[in-house]
């Protein structure tokens, strides 16, 4: 007896438009088409995959190469994830996460309420329409959806923006009240996480073997791989991503955490970017040095970033030179890492004198390290002097006299 396919609850055109949906994936599984068969049966798919990867490498937030009206739109999504898994370039994966999540969120913004709810529920965001007797509007803006607060926190606790903190949300009776735009933003984050999560293809040796031995697909993959590796190397400033020109020896834990996140190509939150720029400029980094660091970001755009960094440096606008956030602000933003097992420091948790700003941490550490280096240099110089005296004595002895000093 064969298992009956589950009845579909989402229209086929919606499945094609949003291929990350669980129901879209179930549809493909029911078809029992192998990935390679799918690739051969859609003539334009390889060109479109190439174009989407190129858009991700360019840091774009929209792509024209994703089709939304037929099966290709469905099959191309798993193929993008398979190729990302084979390439194993974390920064490209994050850029792809950024591109696809922004692309789909733009589409969702234009959908009717029902479609947004259907997509949300498929992604385990169990939002519901607010019953008519419990409708909420703030300053005439309606909040037509509500979500159990634990589900809200599952996604939104990662956001760093003040506006997304639970304390600034409409919470009542266990539900967070949301606008349509809020719901789409939550979905955007879920999509991003889906794209960047490790794909099973990475450990599918049979697929790898079939793919690499295919006479047409192998050159296609090698071409994409060579291009992606070259572009990523250029984006990292010619060196490996771990070789960023950042001296992190005296940085406070909060900065180290952001620098490390950036080195891995993970999209930094707005507040993290601002804090990093203000901090680096204040300690004396040049605009170009700060810009080099941001080249690692998935949405890096030289022109926009330069303007923003120069603005922070006081070269535009009111020419204000901004200072980095205080520790209390960082704490409420969830950016304080003093107790973090990886980045935390006893100089934050048990300082000899309390301090309010991470700059103080940096200045104290810089001073301390300079002092230690100077002491070490003096000690070495002393040893060298002794060595020189010994050498002079030895030379004198060698010359056969004990009167080297008299000479």
């Amino acid at each position: 007896m064969t298992a009956q396919p589950k009845p579909r609850t989402i229209p086929f055109n919606v499945l094609c438009k949003y291929p990350f949906l669980n129901e879209s994936i179930a549809w493909m599984q029911e078809k029992s088409v192998t990935p390679i068969e799918a690739l051969y049966s859609h003539a334009s798919m390889t060109d479109n995959i190439r174009a989407i990867i190129s858009d991700a490498l360019d840091g774009k937030e929209q792509t024209k190469a994703l089709r939304h009206d037929d099966e290709e739109g469905l099959y191309i999504y798993p193929w993008i994830r398979i190729i990302l898994a084979f390439l194993n370039l974390p920064r490209l994966t994050h850029r792809m996460g950024n591109l696809l999540s922004k692309h789909f969120s733009n589409l969702l913004e234009q959908e009717n309420d029902l479609t947004v709810l259907v997509v949300a529920r498929d992604q385990s965001i169990n939002a519901e329409e607010v019953p008519s007797d419990k409708r909420v509007a703030i300053n005439t803006v309606p909040f037509p959806y509500r979500l159990p607060f634990l589900e809200f926190l599952d996604v939104a606790a990662r956001f760093k923006s003040h506006a997304w903190k639970l304390v600034n949300k409409l919470l009542k009776g266990g539900y967070v009240y949301l606008r349509k735009h809020d719901l789409v933003r939550l979905l955007e984050e879920v999509i991003k996480l889906k794209v960047i999560e490790p794909s099973a293809a990475a450990s599918d040796d049979a697929l790898k073997e079939a793919f690499s031995s295919d006479p047409l697909l192998n050159p296609f993959y090698e071409d994409i791989a060579a291009n992606a590796r070259e572009r990523m190397a250029t984006a990292a400033g010619g060196g490996g991503m771990e070789d960023l020109p950042v001296d992190d020896n005296a940085f406070p834990p909060c900065i180290n955490a952001i620098v490390e996140k950036n080195a891995r190509g993970i999209n930094l939150a707005h507040s993290e970017r601002l804090f990093l720029v203000y901090f680096l400029l204040t300690i004396g980094k040049t605009v170009d040095e700060v810009l080099d660091l941001f080249r690692n970001q998935p949405d890096y755009n030289e022109k926009i970033t330069r303007y923003q960094v120069e603005f922070a440096a006081g070269k535009h606008g009111k020419q204000t030179q901004y200072k980095p956030h205080n520790c209390v602000t960082l704490e409420s933003l969830g950016m304080c890492k003093k107790d973090d097992p990886q980045f935390g420091s006893k100089y934050c948790t048990e300082p000899k004198k309390p301090f309010k700003n991470p700059l103080t941490f940096y200045r104290r550490r810089t001073w301390y390290r300079a002092k230690k280096a100077s002491e070490a240099a003096s000690a070495r110089a002393g040893e060298d002097d002794e060595a020189r005296v010994d050498a002079a004595g030895a030379a004198s002895d060698a010359r056969g006299g004990g009167n080297a000093q008299a000479e």
């Binding site: 300053n139 607060f149 903190k165 304390v167 919470l171 009542k172």
Partner: protein, 424 residues
């Protein structure tokens, strides 16, 4: 891992003192108490830690498969303090945290009167400078006024005012936040009197146990109003006037509006409102207009003489009153030890009591948490002792070397704090 409700560092490498008198009473208590009262949910998946008289530091990484073994351990060792992990592990007995295999952690809220400012602290708390021996009342200063030293021995005390304030905060946590805002039924929470300075509220449903540190922090920030931005929640100074909140608004917006309505309504009844005198006068002058608007859910908060800056001050003070004084690190930390139910507190002799929300209202820690009752004992104080109450009798204040006949509960209370000896 930290232990909530104990100065953990103080115990490191120091053998806790406990008189034989108290130890025998503790042992007698553990013998007669029922196993069911002692055993926390999911006993086998929790790590236990004990402070045992005569043993240095905390005895960690203990685990029990059988409730009877746990009770047997308590009877045999009569610990001064008994804790279990809020965390559940597959291998709680392993002595390295990374080998215990974390599976989840209860969500814990800790309200400790140590973290709540009460005026009586100036009367009963004292400090001693470890550098010069200088003493003072209230909270220890940053620097010793005599020698400039910054190390002090804090001698905090317990009184009805402090514990009442802790209870008020616990009720606020449960009623205003967990029930009203987070939508949790009151009977889904485990409420405990800690045995000394405050209360713990445990949420033990699977959904809470699975919460990550970020989500726990967000809940704690909501309750403590950390990161609250009144402009983000809709307070808008505009050219035409000021847009405020309505009492029906969800979240902090409605909380502030309801707090304001309660505050100005309280003015009629002569109740104090904690805003500076200047702002208070302006509110008083406008209270009837404002009350009418709040009752009609009118968001127009434009009032004569009260501009955005003054509103900012007023709202700031309201938030101070409305937020709840939980100990945030306890809520966020997923590797915390928490005092075990129905165990005795080695600094008071009081029992850790499980309460329902209804029982909390009438709960009197100085009576209901006292285990050892009756039997008058003659004691001699070994230090000055502030006034205190056990059951319906008030004792002290005593000077050093004073003698008195006190109830056994009062004797245990003083003995646990090394402030007296029992005179034969």
């Amino acid at each position: 891992m930290h232990a909530a409700g104990v100065m953990h560092k103080r115990n490191e490498g120091v053998e806790p003192r406990m008189s034989e008198y108290v130890r025998a009473l503790f042992q007698a208590y553990y013998r007669q108490v029922g196993v069911d009262a002692l055993v926390p949910k999911d006993l086998t998946r929790r790590e236990f830690g004990f402070i045992i008289p005569g043993k240095k530091g905390m005895v960690r990484h203990q685990a029990f498969l059988d409730p009877k073994d746990y009770k047997g351990f308590l009877v045999q060792n009569s610990p001064a303090h008994a804790y279990h992990s809020a965390t559940l592990y597959n291998s709680p007995w392993k002595d390295r945290m990374d080998q215990k295999d974390y599976t989840g952690c209860d969500l814990i809220f800790d309200i400790d009167c140590d973290h709540i400012e009460t005026p009586c602290k100036r009367d009963h708390d004292t400090w001693i400078c470890k550098g010069c021996g200088g003493q003072g009342a209230g909270k220890a200063p940053e620097k010793c006024p005599k020698c400039g030293g910054n190390k002090f021995e804090d001698r905090s005390w317990l009184c009805d005012v402090c514990l009442d304030k802790a209870k008020t905060e616990t009720r606020k946590l449960i009623d205003d936040f967990l029930v009203k805002d987070f939508g949790l039924p009151a009977d889904s929470m485990e409420i405990y009197f800690s045995g000394q300075r405050g209360y713990h509220v445990h949420l033990e449903r699977d959904a809470f146990r699975k919460m990550g540190a970020d989500a726990r922090r967000e809940m704690a920030d909501y309750i403590t109003a950390t990161g609250l931005s009144i402009s983000t929640i809709g307070f808008l100074p505009m050219t035409k006037g000021i847009r405020g909140f309505t009492t029906a608004d969800p979240g902090w917006a409605g909380k502030i509006a309801r707090g304001l309505l309660e505050a100005i309504s309280g003015m009629d009844a002569g109740r104090a409102i904690s805003v500076p005198p200047k702002e208070l006068e302006l509110l008083r002058a406008n209270k009837d207009v404002l009350k009418k608007r709040l009752l009609e859910n009118d968001i127009n908060w434009s009032l004569a003489g009260i501009g955005p800056g003054i509103w900012g001050h007023i709202i700031e003070r309201l938030i101070e009153d409305l937020k709840c004084a939980i100990d945030v690190p306890v809520t966020i930390d997923v590797h915390r030890l928490i005092r075990a139910p129905a165990t005795l507190h080695g600094k008071t002799g009081f029992v850790n009591c499980k309460l329902t929300r209804q029982q909390l209202d009438a709960f009197d820690p100085f009576t209901d948490a006292v285990v050892f009752k009756g039997n008058a004992e003659k004691i001699k104080t070994s230090s000055d002792v502030p006034r205190f109450r056990i059951e319906d009798r008030t004792y002290g204040p005593y000077k050093k070397d004073e003698t008195d006949t006190v109830s056994i509960g009062a004797a245990v209370f003083l003995l646990c704090r090394n402030l007296c000896e029992v005179v034969a």
